[in-house]
Each structure stands twice: as C-alpha cells, then as structure tokens.
Point group: C2
Amino acid sequence: MSLRDIETRFIHALSLHRRKKHRVHQDLTKAHELYQISTMSVLMEGLYDGHTTYEKLAEHGNFGLGTFNSLDGEMIAFDGSFYQILADGKARLVEPSMKTPFAVVIFFEPDIQLDLPNRMPWHEFEILLKQVAPSHLVFYAIRLEGTFEYIKLRNVTRQQEPYAPLGDIVRGFPVLELRHVKGTMVGFRCPDYSSGINVPGYHLHFLDEERETGGHVMTCTANGVRLQIDHTFNLRMEIPEMFVFDEQARRQPPGEGQSGTAGR
Amino acid sequence: MSLRDIETRFIHALSLHRRKKHRVHQDLTKAHELYQISTMSVLMEGLYDGHTTYEKLAEHGNFGLGTFNSLDGEMIAFDGSFYQILADGKARLVEPSMKTPFAVVIFFEPDIQLDLPNRMPWHEFEILLKQVAPSHLVFYAIRLEGTFEYIKLRNVTRQQEPYAPLGDIVRGFPVLELRHVKGTMVGFRCPDYSSGINVPGYHLHFLDEERETGGHVMTCTANGVRLQIDHTFNLRMEIPEMFVFDEQARRQPPGEGQSGTAGR
C-alpha cells in the first residue's frame, strides 16, 4: 500500500467517522471527544493533587494516559483497564478510588488499522504517521501493539509536599530500557495549538504483554506492530477547582488571616 | 471595600458556585463551561469558513464574542442577543442561519458584581481585575456596562478567497474611536495556558446603548460602569471538521487526482 493510498484511506475514514459522529452528536455524554483533566502546563507548575477519581475519569474514556496524585506513577489505559506504573517501571491495576491531577482519555474507536511488519525506528515511524494522520488540526489517538526491538522509558517518582515544579525534578526520574519486548503503546498526537494545554506532538505510554513493566516512552524501535488510529475534533477540559485554593494558599503564607493588607 | 475584601468575596463566590455547579454536573448539556468553535491560532491561519450556525452556537451560550464566515464582522452576544458589527462599526442582529469560524460563548451567571463609579483608565482597571479575578487557572467571563470616556475599536473586514492569514491583514482593519459613549463590553480573560487555543489575557467586544455601533476593543477608559464577572474551570472546544478538507485541498493543487505520487 502506497502512502498516498493511506492518505486517501484517511479521508475516507474521516467521512465515515463524520457521519457516525453526527448520529450521536445530540448526546453530549457520548460525543466522541478527547477529555482531559487539567493541562500539561498546570501540571508542570507542581499542581500534583487533583480530586478526580479514576472511577469518574473512566466515564469519559477507556483509553489514554496520565498520572496520579503526588505524581505517583505513569497511567496507561486500554481495553477499558487502567494501570499504574511506578517509578521502578512495575505496573499494577488502578483502584477506582485513586485520584489524578492530569489525565487524557477517549473512547477509542480506531478509523485506521495497519500492520507494520518491518523494523521501524521512531523517525521512520513518524514519517509514516504524518501520512496516515496528516492533519495538524486534529487530535489523534494512537495504539501500537506488537514487538519492539527497543524502548526507552522514563517514569515519574512519587513527590512529597511542598511540590517542586516538574521541570526541576524531571531529570531525576529513573530511565528504563527494554529490548525485544512485546506489549502495547497508547497515546496521542496533539496539534501544535494545544501546546499550552497538552503535549504537542507525540505522547505515548507503554505496558508489556505481561502487564508487569512499562512507563512513559522517550523513544522506541518497532519490529512488527499493528497500528490503530482514532481521531477527534472535540476537546473537553476540566481544571480541578481545588487547584484555585492551592493557588490561593501559595499566595497567602500560613497563619495570615483576613487582616492582611490589601493590594499586595 | 478594600481589594482584600474583594478577594475574599471571590473565594466565597467560588465556593457557592462550586456547589451550584455540582448540582447540575450530571447534565453535561447544562454544565457551566466555556464553549468555543475552533481556536484563535487556527483562525489566524486563515480558516475563515466554519459550518456552525449561530442557531447551533446559541445552544452553548448566550454571552460571548467571535466572528463570521469570511471574517464578515465582529460578534458580540449578551442577554441572549447576538450582534454582527461590520467593518465600519455598524451593528445589526445576527440571523440564526449565519455561520461562524470562531466564537467563544458561555451561559453568563455572574458571581461578582461591583459598581465602579470613578474614572478608570484601562491599566487601573487591570489592577482591580487582578484582585477580583485572581486565579491564573480560571476562565473569566466579564461584562462592563455604563459610560466610557474613551474606547478605541478595530473591526475585521470581509475577506475574499483565497484567504490570507490574519496576521497579514490585521493592520488594514479600520480603527474607530468613540468618546463619552454608553454601552456594554463583553468578553473573557483566559489563562496563559490557553495561548494556542484562545486569547490569553483580555479579549473584549463593545456595543453602544443604541445597539448601533461597536467592535473589538483595543483600549478604553471607563467612567462609571458596573462590572460583572463569571468564571469556569471547564472548556469545550470543537474544531470544524470541514477545516480538514480545506487543509487537504491546500496541500493538493486543483486538478490533481488520486494518481499523484506517494510520499510527498
């Protein structure tokens, strides 16, 4: 199949998808949309404690990625299961009562499926994806399943209050390298215009076939994977309201009451 | 009332609002959210023809601002009425069948109301608003009603295809100055993280008391206005799907069929 064939196939899938979406458009709870808690830039500031439980999050999608309160692990979700991957790369199922300060989910309904039998370093994969997913306006959800020759992962580490901004601590997060591993990669390619709210470009998390090891993907070389792609034009975003109280507390040192001077 | 009193009042209003919102949260069609068609950065690219009618837009809010297909005027909405302000500053009611490529609306439910009797240049007004609306995480909707000593407006001009990017044409838009005018200013203050999708900081449109003259506000000096502020933590955004076909058409010159070479 030539790349142009793939592009044509995308446009066809788009038309189908459009009709499909319009059928359910009246029911907003089922609109095919990307749903996110908080924004990447707000997470970067160090607002690591949200109030959204995974039980609640799962109402908005069965596929995606994110993190946990106190930055206690990377989250990956697919086939309706949510996993927590700790700093050492070890994975376990998420408890519904656990909370997230940042997550991005969708009900995954792939438009396109391609088998990529050959060895494919990340930069070649990006060239292919640019053809399969050509729009710079659309949010794409991506699933890769199969064998990876190499994966480099980096996982967040549980933080203690007072929280430091993410940029100050990211270099200390442990890096993990996997070779000749089977598993599932899940994530998104977001438009450049989403730079303030999400991660423009690719953001992928990985979990191995045994559901034991995974993390945030830094780079990889696939070698025989199935690619599935979904897309949406719709984004819904909720900033946790309690973040405003955290923000207020930071501006008002402990012990200072309502008698402080005005106009600081 | 001191500025600290105002800040305390905001936090109180926030708590009230939170309870109010939680009551209707199950019904997403009535969730108190900012709703926008497209993004400012996509509009900037020259994608000036959307498919959303004002009839449809009004389902998502009765208050806000935006523009029209072909960039044919500034839109201002309040009290449930939508107005189109043409390049010469003349206003008329919007027909429900008219379409928009970019608009931001909300169902306006102000938390805070303040009478500002004194003369207030824009920079002083900004200082006050920073106290009344202190969060850098929240989307604020703002309404100002009363007398303005001075307002400088600039209005978009209807464009012909092929459309040029907004940055290339904005300097040619007519500027209008009003003095000692009564009317209504409507708009938003959006967080910095919304820079790619909306206008970070203030974005306000104005319409005079006679509903005859208005436009996009560049600066103003108030002199006896009532300020009302609403806020939300929720954003819903829809990119018009047809934009992808426009995007595709731009990459594929007219007359070129499916036989084009692959991998361009």
